[in-house]
Symmetry: C2
Subunit: 154 residues, 2 copies
């Protein structure tokens, strides 16, 4: 693939590991510039577009929300600006990751506790059900809005 070869959306998807539909989605929400089109109205992507999408996907992979990525891309387009904003975004995200880890570890521990108490038999004797029904075993000290604890959204 030389520098002047343009990619169809399917080829770009294959190259970047990003779904066709997701590429269209990113174009629709403005994270990718509108692509050139063939006379048949099919999108064509140059290498700059491929690089931008790779950046985007990499940032997504690291869990950055799209709003943050939008900002990172904006900053990347302005190489003379100070990178303190980038640093702030990245550090903020790392802090979120760490909070998340704390919560998941607590969750793991609690699930392990519940499961090891399960001795089999009938539901009536089930420690999992009992624990879920037993309010004393809530992870939250009281009922905060940050409950519940989702894993991921896929």
């Amino acid at each position: 693939m030389s520098d002047n070869r343009l990619l169809t959306i399917g080829r770009l998807a294959a190259t970047t590991g990003c779904k066709v539909e997701t590429i269209r989605y990113y174009e629709r929400i403005g994270l990718l510039p509108a692509a050139e089109r063939t006379s048949g109205n099919q999108r064509l992507y140059d290498d700059a577009a491929r690089r931008r999408l790779s950046f985007l996907r990499h940032a997504r992979e690291l869990g950055f929300p799209l709003a943050a990525i939008r900002e990172l891309l904006r900053l990347a387009d302005h190489p003379d600006q100070p990178c303190s904003s980038i640093d702030r975004i990245a550090r903020g995200h790392l802090a979120q990751v760490r909070l998340r880890l704390v919560r998941l570890r607590a969750l793991e521990t609690e699930l392990e506790r519940i499961i090891t108490q399960c001795r089999g038999g009938a539901v009536a004797d089930c420690r999992v059900i009992e624990s879920l029904a037993d309010h004393r075993h809530c992870l939250a000290a009281d009922h905060h809005p940050e409950m519940p604890t989702p894993l991921e959204d896929n």
Copy 2:
């Protein structure tokens, strides 16, 4: 609050830490039975409803998806059934939690690496931006659909 006192939705919300809107949502999707109503069409909840909602919230807090909770509640309503299904649901969930932990730890490490390389200055010299642009630093060995790595959905 004695056993025969019925709660309005607001009081139930306060008692269980679950939002009014969420309680209505759970009723709508069938996780909670339709509540009794006053002559003025306001919902009233008995203690059984409070207990069921508490169970539900506790399970949500532990990150069980609603579909799994639906099944857990169904099983809880049948105390004579074997609890192997419950065990399977809980263990499956714990396995997901552990996978999630592995991924978040890797994510934390990668973010730390990127951030500690950031020396300040201009975007043009920014290691964060470079790392995001650099495809060699992807967490995924190749581009799997499980990329990206969201934290949570709130």
